[in-house]
Amino acid sequence: MRKVNTEIIVKLEKVSFSYTKEEAVKNVSLLVHKGDYTGIIGPNGGGKSTLLKLMLGILKPNKGTVELFGTDINHFKDWQKIGYVPQKAHVDTNFPVTVEEMVAMGRYGLRGLFHFPTREDKEKVYQALKHVDMVDFRNKQMSDLSGGQQQRVFIARALATEPEIIFLDEPTVGVDVKTQKQFYELLRILNRKLELTLVLVSHELDVVAHESNELGYINRTLEYYGEPTEFLKGAYFHELIGIGGLHH
């Protein structure tokens, strides 16, 4: 095994979760190692986002355990190691905030009560905006940006925390193909140059299979977990493509 000595960042063991009676995620076990670029793909309603929320403790599993950095999620405190880029649709972008204010929120969890942004925080915000190439937009309103630009700001917010791992939930929904391409280039830089571990949830099966170095296919159960190349080669992938309904 190539990753025997690498630190395990996310560990799911036999995790199940249900919103109603039917299980949305069933008996999922997986490991994310330091430096991985893990893609989680699957059909709509297949439990991708639910799985991500379980990894982040936003949802609590009915069965099984979740560990982050070797600690059970119920006792996990090092949230500054985690960056999160939510589905854009879940964020009220009509909110009266500037780009800079939005990115500064990435520093909020690091500071206690009554602590207002320090010079260091401002510097980190600037650096984060630089990484996503949005410095020039820092005084703009979030609502004045395009979908792709907003998404970059959310990445900057996650980067401002200086995390070790970033979780992204369907980040390219509603952006055009060109922006999408730039977006995946940015993720590649984050993973390779900044050595950030990434967990990316997306319905874009083919793109993610080519970009990631670890791939999970979930349709309630984790039907595939391993090398993307194996997945693409396998008859399984062709069978899925044949079924259709995976491309939107």
Binding site: L56, G57, P86, V91, F95, E101, M105, G106, Q141
Partner: protein
């Protein structure tokens, strides 16, 4: 200048006007900082619900012969916690919880009023607000609890902003969303009940919501939005109280109408600019 020399001494000869102004300005300062979070979280209706709960509290205070402001504060704070717990339990929709508390407490207030015919006039003052309702003890209570609310908002400002923009991301950053949500609703309860003697039960929702809605039209940063809402709020309350003195009008009514006029003007100017 001539006007100020002739008007000011006269108005300040009356201690009730001073009390009204002191209390009113404190309320005017707190209302938008609470309001911005309620409005943006689509939770404006809670202000109305808590004001009706406060009315039941006022009625209880009048019956028991306790300062009605105190009973209003207690009933609003206790109910706010119950409402938030109901919302979290998901047994009923948040909105339904608000509706039930609104009508339930109004019913309780009406029954208490009909049991005791003696305090109808008093109660009218609490419904629509009146500067003459404000007692000296009320000014102290409003001042101390008002400071508490401001300090609380100041302490949890970052957290409140973050959960309002993006509750999930805030949770992932390690913020206790449960604690912050309960704090916000308790602060809202305090603000609403403190405002009752001045603005009145039926109009407090407007003071919490309208200055914020006006400021939001200008599409500024979060801090600038709060600042603009503060200016609108303090202006409307001061103007409302002074004009109620000279024109013998209901202070609460004037405050709300001024706010609506400013909002309309903002709409018109915005349209004009386009």
């Amino acid at each position: 200048m001539i006007i100020s020399y002739t008007i000011m001494p006269e108005i300040f000869q009356y201690s009730f006007i001073l009390r009204g102004l002191e209390a009113g300005i404190i309320i005017a300062l707190i209302a938008p900082v609470i309001g911005i979070f309620l409005v943006l979280r689509r939770y404006s209706l809670i202000a109305d619900t808590l004001s009706h709960v406060s009315l039941a509290g006022v009625a209880i205070g009048l019956i028991l012969n306790i300062n009605p402001l105190i009973t209003a504060i207690i009933s609003a704070v206790v109910s706010s916690i119950v409402i938030e717990r109901l919302r979290l339990s998901k047994r009923i929709f948040g909105e339904s919880a608000l509706a039930i508390f609104l009508s339930g407490s109004l019913a309780l207030a009406i029954i208490l009023i009909s049991l005791n015919h003696g305090f109808r006039v008093d109660l009218f003052n609490y419904l629509f607000g009146s500067i003459t309702t404000v007692r000296q003890a009320d000014v102290y209570i409003i001042f101390i609890l008002g400071l508490l609310v401001i300090a609380g908002i100041f302490a949890f400002y970052k957290e409140l902003v973050y959960i309002t923009v993006d509750e999930e991301a805030a949770q992932v950053s390690g913020i206790s969303t449960r604690l912050i949500n309960i704090l916000l609703i308790v602060f809202a309860a305090l603000t609403v009940s403190l405002a009752i003697p001045i603005v009145g039960v039926l109009l407090i929702g407007a003071l919490i919501v309208i200055p914020v809605v006006t400021a939001l039209q200008l599409r500024k940063s979060f801090k600038q939005t709060i600042f603009i809402a503060e200016i609108v709020s303090v202006f409307s309350v001061t103007f409302g109280i002074i004009s109620s003195f000279y024109l013998n009008l209901s202070a609460g009514g004037v405050i709300v109408l001024i706010n609506i006029i400013i909002l309309l003007l903002t709409f018109i100017i915005k349209e004009f600019k386009h």
